[in-house]
């Protein structure tokens, strides 16, 4: 079967600096891949490259069947990315934000509302401007925005950072549920214990290339929670 993500010798330049210096990586559908590496190793750039946000200047880069070197826009509808920043409009309410991002991706308002339910944000916060929320709460809203898109490939950049226990558990649960529903997940994290518990594979990045790659012990995942299908 065609790998979902296929990178061969991928080079990404940020300015003149080679953030990725020849990455070789194949990810099969349904995998949960943990990217580990020191700060500056290239994890974030790798995720952004898969999202088509940065230009791959050399090598092969095919994600979800789209050749990123030919057209890096087409793949975006099918992926969901959670970056360092929360990508929310400060003055808009939680509901406004999630609905906007959902509709932008072609999902419906119903999907958006269902996603909001899923991230367990207290009801009283729904009509509050996002600027007034705590970091953890904002992350939940971002998660809801990504969830509402129902992406085939999840790209998560340090999803546990700055979150409390409950929120971290929620992230793990959502990741497992997504994979169980057929999605593929790439996540970069420094929270190795937690991440290794949910990942099926661990890839080590250093100096802009892949240094290590190992399968992780298959974890018996709890039965996936109902992924609401708001049809």
């Amino acid at each position: 079967m065609e790998p979902l993500v296929h990178l061969r010798g991928a080079v990404v330049l940020l300015g003149r600096f080679p953030a990725l210096a020849g990455v070789d990586l194949d990810v099969e559908p349904g995998e949960i891949v943990l990217l580990r590496g020191a700060n500056g190793a290239g994890k974030t750039t790798l995720l952004r490259a898969c999202a088509g946000l940065v230009r791959v200047t050399d090598g092969d880069a095919v994600v979800l069947g789209h050749d990123l070197r030919a057209d890096r826009r087409a793949v975006r509808r099918r992926i969901g990315m959670l970056g360092h920043a929360t990508a929310l409009y400060d003055e808009l309410t939680v509901v406004d934000n999630v609905r906007f991002w959902a509709r932008a991706a072609g999902a419906t308002v119903a999907h958006a509302d269902a996603a909001l339910e899923r991230v367990a944000l207290p009801d009283r916060l729904r009509d509050v401007p996002v600027a007034l929320l705590s970091t953890g709460q904002r992350r939940r809203v971002s998660l809801a925005s990504v969830l509402a898109r129902r992406p085939e490939l999840w790209l998560l950049d340090e999803p546990h950072a700055g979150l409390d226990q409950d929120a971290r558990d929620l992230v793990d649960e959502l990741v497992r549920a997504a994979a169980a529903a057929g999605a593929t997940v790439l996540l970069a994290s420094h929270e190795l214990d937690r991440a290794e518990a949910i990942a099926t594979r661990e890839v080590t990045i250093a100096g802009g290339i892949v240094r290590g790659d190992r399968r992780l012990a298959a974890v018996t995942a709890p039965p996936p929670a109902e992924v609401p299908d708001a049809g």
Binding site: V11, L13, L14, G15, R16, F17, P18, A21, G22, R36, G37, A38, A41, R55, T204, I205, A206, G207, G208, I209, R211, G212
Partner: protein, 260 residues
């Protein structure tokens, strides 16, 4: 941090690197331009007559009008290059456009100065809000804006695209500015004050033609050289890449040796 070495970059024979942007073709071109300049000075200042109405001031005409015309040509070339950059993304055309735009700034400035020098004996003041001067002043500022965009730090493709858009916005504006300023001045003043075009006789026509040729070829010469400087700059940047890649991977080895 790795120390900066002074060894020549690997893979390049420094002796082969060009020492200047000249070539036999440009030297020949340059010689022709110099000859034309000499001829222009002779014709413009010495052998052609003064005009009835404007007196000696008309001699600026041989310089001012060619400057203006070539200025528009330079902007046009920049626009053309920009279209190609946005359409196909070509490094060559990006450099051509940038070089042409830079020369256009100089030409526009010159056009303003010669226009003002022409105006002083004719109108008694250095500046009037005449349609041509005003449009040129606006173009000058637009081009300075372009230079500001060019100077922003960015990678090659980003800079090329931003500059292409800026250049196109500028050149699309040129006819609009021309018409609006023209109508504006004609509203407030009868047109006579703008008609400084002199009655031309044969000797003046020759001088004028030489002036046009001088500026045209001079622009071409400048364009080629400025383009080559840009081209060499890009090549220097590219040469660094192989080393940068190697350095980057070496980082990884050092890191991966220890704890991740």
């Amino acid at each position: 941090m790795t120390t900066v070495t002074t060894e020549p970059t690997r893979g390049v024979d420094v002796d082969d690197a060009p020492r200047s942007t000249g070539s036999p073709a440009t030297r020949a071109l340059g010689a022709v331009v110099l000859a034309l300049v000499g001829l222009l000075v002779l014709l413009g200042l010495v052998t052609s007559p003064a005009e009835r109405v404007q007196g000696e001031a008309v001699r600026l005409f041989y310089v001012h009008v060619p400057t203006s015309t070539v200025m528009f040509l330079a902007v046009g070339v920049a626009a053309l290059g920009s279209i190609v950059v946005l359409w196909k993304g070509s490094v060559f055309w990006d450099l051509v456009a940038a070089a042409s735009a830079e020369i256009a700034v100089v030409l526009t400035g010159l056009s303003l100065v010669t226009g003002m020098l022409w105006g002083r004996p004719t109108w008694g003041v250095y500046w009037v809000w005449d349609a041509r001067l005003t449009s040129t002043a606006l173009l000058f500022i637009l081009l300075l804006g372009y230079q500001a965009v060019r100077a922003l730090p960015a990678d090659r493709t980003t800079r090329a695209r931003r500059c292409a858009v800026a250049a196109l916005i500028t050149s699309l504006n040129v006819p609009i500015v021309h018409y609006s300023v023209d109508w504006w001045r004609s509203l407030h003043q009868p047109a006579t004050i703008s008609t400084l075009d002199p009655k031309i006789d044969d000797a003046m026509l020759v001088a004028f033609a030489v002036g046009m040729a001088t500026y045209l070829l001079g622009y071409l010469w400048l364009l080629i050289h400025r383009f080559r400087v840009g081209w060499l700059e890009e090549q220097v940047a590219d040469l660094g890449l192989g080393d940068a890649l190697a350095e980057r991977r070496a980082e990884g080895l050092a890191d991966a040796g220890g704890a991740p």
